[in-house]
């Protein structure tokens, strides 16, 4: 691509690309986000491409491998435009048929359509699917419209308009004011005003100033940052460019974990292409503004998502946090004023500049503006990434977008905010999700992980799972986090093994408060949340484990036994076949039994019995 030297040249290039594209030309978009790629969608992309060659359709039909569309549950996903036909669970060999039937003849392939599990209705268009219909995909929605490795694609949808606007005469102070007015708060967990952070960094004495994009996403189950970096890396760069210009920074860092190879690849390509075009580098668009971006790969320590640990890691030291009594905006990377924001927050910036703070403010609740992307996972029908306006209720997310709980089971809780978030029970399902409402019920926004649990989930076991994660990921620097979380985990483990003591609950509550108060960084400062929030809402479950040595959800192995109800057993032998240790036995058409000495309580018999004859107690 030829270097553009002025904003006008960039604008003309944009127009040129737009005009060269026929909106009526058929375009097959295949989701090539990490989720769909694991279904094999790269093969599908290749098949489409070779089919286009074979049928001499080159130049007549576009094939685009895009970033994540969010509905990972139904992948591989294919969208055919201009009609917006949505195919899901597409077979890797379906390319030929789709081109012949749908693209060339306008025939719909019935079996590839999405079926609404509630109405059993087949749905043709992407935007009519309940999963998408209730979302507001302002940030994430662009993923489907671009090939993440194509800067042209980004320009074609109006990419870098916000940058042009800013360099065409917006004063840095005015940009900061716009972001402040918009009310954009950090999407990475802290929820701090992005505008205030920019302002503090701009005003802090010392040069150079640095900006950092925190892409060290580490919450189990959360992958919105990965999907944004993979699917629309240019928008992140555009956000960073605007931030750097407003703050007065000439160097940016993207700290991305190396376990995200596709994100690393796509953002690296995006940076190279932006440099080629002249959007990164010296004297950007003739404005006199210099800015470049370096990509730093993280080794995968969860704690490096904490900003001071992240800074230490960029500096080449081990990723340990330091006390934040002086903010990074004053003394951050190499002791210089530094602004750190998370991927999703950066991605919101171009949107605000393009459409204005007032428009942005109109979305959301009083103190939480705009949308938030949640990773909806766990015991939910529609697993995937969902972008919703702040203020939507949990019930809408779980039932309208998520399609409810699989197998008709009962909702029990949703764990929001990553490992140190909190479990929210059914009684709070009508909670309007925003930063403040979530903290009020003992949870937090975190980076937006949302793990749905059904009635077969043991809350003590859940708390133990997250605590184990945090115990392993604690850097070990400060005592309360390193030793406290470890000891707390031992107590919880004892409880799930049936060795809990009466005083344990008092102890963990006391420890929880002191760990929160005493820890050095946010990791320890929130680590007790999963325990405290489950204790708050599901205390009876803890008590059942301790006093009655019983796991009400039938999960904790030490406290359950599997038996077969002779009334219900048909002697179908399925349990006997599936049992890995030959504990379940019996003759054909005779009542089966489980040998308790052999049983390892894996639950395979329970899961496989079609007659509900296997009982857990």
């Amino acid at each position: 691509m030829k270097k553009v030297k002025t904003a006008q040249e960039l604008k003309s290039l944009q127009e040129e690309i737009k005009n060269s594209r026929d909106p009526e030309k058929p375009c097959i978009t295949i989701c090539a986000g990490t989720g769909c790629l694991t279904y094999g969608s790269q093969k599908l992309v290749d098949n489409f491409r070779s089919e286009i060659e074979k049928q001499n359709l080159k130049g007549k039909v576009e094939v685009r491998a895009s970033g994540c569309h969010g509905f990972c549950e139904r992948g591989p996903l294919v969208v055919i435009n201009p009609q917006n036909i949505f195919y899901q669970r597409v077979g890797l060999d379906d390319a030929e048929e789709i081109i012949k039937e749908t693209v060339l003849n306008g025939q719909i392939i019935d079996r590839l359509l999405y079926v609404d599990p509630v109405t059993q209705e087949k749905i043709l268009h992407e935007d009519e699917i309940p999963f998408y219909k209730r979302q507001m995909r302002l940030v994430f929605g662009m993923n489907g419209n671009i090939d993440p490795n194509s800067l042209e694609d980004y320009l074609a949808i109006g990419g870098y308009n916000a940058l042009i606007k800013v360099l065409n005469g917006m004063e840095p102070e005015a940009i900061i004011e716009e972001i402040k007015t918009a009310g954009l708060r950090g999407r990475g967990g802290g929820g701090f005003s992005m505008g205030l952070k920019w302002e503090a960094t701009r005003k802090a004495p010392g040069l150079p100033k640095y900006i950092i994009c925190n892409a060290d996403e580490g919450d189990p189950g959360a992958y919105m940052d990965r999907s944004l970096l993979e699917g629309n890396p240019y928008s992140i760069l555009e956000g960073m460019l605007i931030g750097a210009y407003a703050i007065g920074s000439d160097t940016g860092y993207i700290y991305v974990r190396n376990e995200y190879p596709l994100a690393v690849k796509n953002i690296t390509i995006a940076v190279e292409k932006a440099r080629e075009l002249g959007i990164l580098g010296k004297d950007i668009l003739g404005s006199g503004f210099d800015f470049d971006v370096l990509i730093v790969r993280g080794g995968g320590a969860f704690v490096c998502g904490e900003e001071t640990a992240l800074i230490a890691s960029i500096e080449g030291r081990s990723g340990e946090p330091r006390a934040k009594y002086v903010f990074p905006s004053e003394r951050g990377l190499y002791n210089k004023p530094t602004n750190i924001n998370n991927v999703e927050t950066w991605a919101n910036v171009p949107l605000i500049i393009n459409k204005g703070a007032e428009w942005y403010r109109s979305i959301g609740t009083e103190n939480s503006k705009g949308t938030k992307i949640f990773a909806l996972v766990g015991k939910i029908n529609n697993t995937g990434l969902v972008e919703v306006p702040m203020g939507i209720t949990l019930r809408e997310i779980v039932y309208d977008i998520g399609g409810g709980i699989p197998k008709g089971r009962k909702f029990k809780a949703v764990q929001v905010g990553g490992p140190s978030g909190g479990c929210i029970p059914e009684s709070h399902l009508d909670l309007q999700v925003d930063f403040d409402a979530l903290s009020k019920v003992g949870s937090m926004m975190g980076s937006g992980g949302m793990i749905v649990m059904d009635d077969r989930t043991c809350m003590v076991d859940v708390a133990l799972y997250f605590l184990k994660f945090l115990e392993e990921e604690s850097c070990g620097k400060c005592t309360p986090c390193r030793e406290g979380v470890h000891q707390m985990r031992l107590i919880l483990e004892r409880i799930t093994e049936g060795n809990g003591k009466e005083e344990d609950l008092k102890t963990i509550e006391w420890m929880g408060k002191a760990i929160i108060d005493g820890s050095l960084c946010g990791l320890g400062g929130t680590a007790p949340n999963p325990v405290l929030s489950t204790l708050r809402y599901f205390r009876d479950e803890y008590e059942a484990h301790i006093k009655e040595k019983r796991c009400p959800a039938g999960v904790c192995k030490a406290l359950i036994t599997y038996t077969i109800d002779p009334e219900l057993c048909t002697g179908c032998m399925v349990c006997a076949k599936i049992c890995p240790v030959e504990a379940a036995t019996g003759e054909k058409k005779e009542v089966h039994t489980i040998d308790q000495d052999k049983c390892i309580k894996c639950g395979a018999c329970f899961e496989s019995c079609k007659f509900d004859a296997v009982k857990v107690s």
Partner: protein, 237 residues
């Protein structure tokens, strides 16, 4: 002369130079705050969390590590609130689980009214205050030891768990350890630290072993003076 700020600690009005930490200011005013990882020769670190105090700035009360937080005008510090004591009690109980014998820890426990830890005794000895690692890096300047592992598996270690090539056997890590965890002995012209041996130098004049050879080589290197210069003990010079 540094600018002076005035603050209150436990109701007592005190003046301290700007830039000093609450812990330093309190110590100067004879107000005791327990601490284990802080050392005036080392950069503030804030790991043990024993020195937590409650501060009020404007409306907000919060806990901070007094070994890091710097004094400021109008700051109100309380060193003994229930919230503070709860953190200290937890910390000392957790540390007793690592080492329930050392008098320094028992003394702090006594002061906090903690008789015994409720947690299973793991008796690891080292309390991970990091004074040895930081002294080796910041004072000695060689970084022969560091931390390995993460979380509960963290420990003070030599690179690759082998004899540390950069160690000059000065023993600073041994002297600085608040719980005397790092063993050192000298026998037949050999100093042993942890489990590694370092030959000692005999004084050119009196013939007594007086310092590790590697330490003298290090002195020679950083001062640019010939090694022989250091091979005479202080008494004979």
């Amino acid at each position: 002369m540094a600018e002076m700020v005035s603050l209150t600690i436990d109701g007592l009005k005190i003046h301290a130079p700007a830039g000093t930490t609450i812990l330093e200011a309190a110590t100067d005013a004879n107000i005791y705050i327990p601490h284990l990882c802080s050392n005036e020769e080392l950069a503030p670190y804030g790991a043990c969390r024993l020195c937590m105090v409650e501060i009020t700035q404007g409306e907000r009360a919060r806990l901070v590590a007094s070994c890091i937080f710097e004094v400021a005008d109008g700051l109100e510090v309380k060193t003994n609130t229930e919230r503070v004591l709860n953190v200290r009690r937890l910390v000392i109980e957790l540390l007793l689980a690592r080492n329930n014998k050392h008098p320094a820890l028992r003394k702090i426990a006594d002061e906090l009214g903690v008789k015994e830890t409720r947690f299973p005794i793991e008796q690891k000895g080292c309390i991970l205050c990091g004074q040895c690692v930081r002294t080796c890096r910041e004072v000695v300047g060689v970084s022969a030891i560091g931390f390995s592992g993460r979380g509960i598996t963290r420990k003070v270690a030599t690179p690759f768990m082998e004899s540390p090539p950069d160690c000059i056997a000065c023993g600073s890590c041994v002297y600085v350890c608040p719980v005397q965890f790092i063993p050192m002995k000298e026998e037949n012209g050999v100093r042993t630290i942890m489990k590694y041996d370092y030959p000692m130098q005999k004084c050119r004049k009196c013939g007594q072993y007086f310092a590790p050879k590697k330490q003298l080589e290090y002195f020679s290197k950083i001062t640019n003076l010939p090694l022989e210069h250091f091979e005479t003990c202080v008494d004979c010079r």
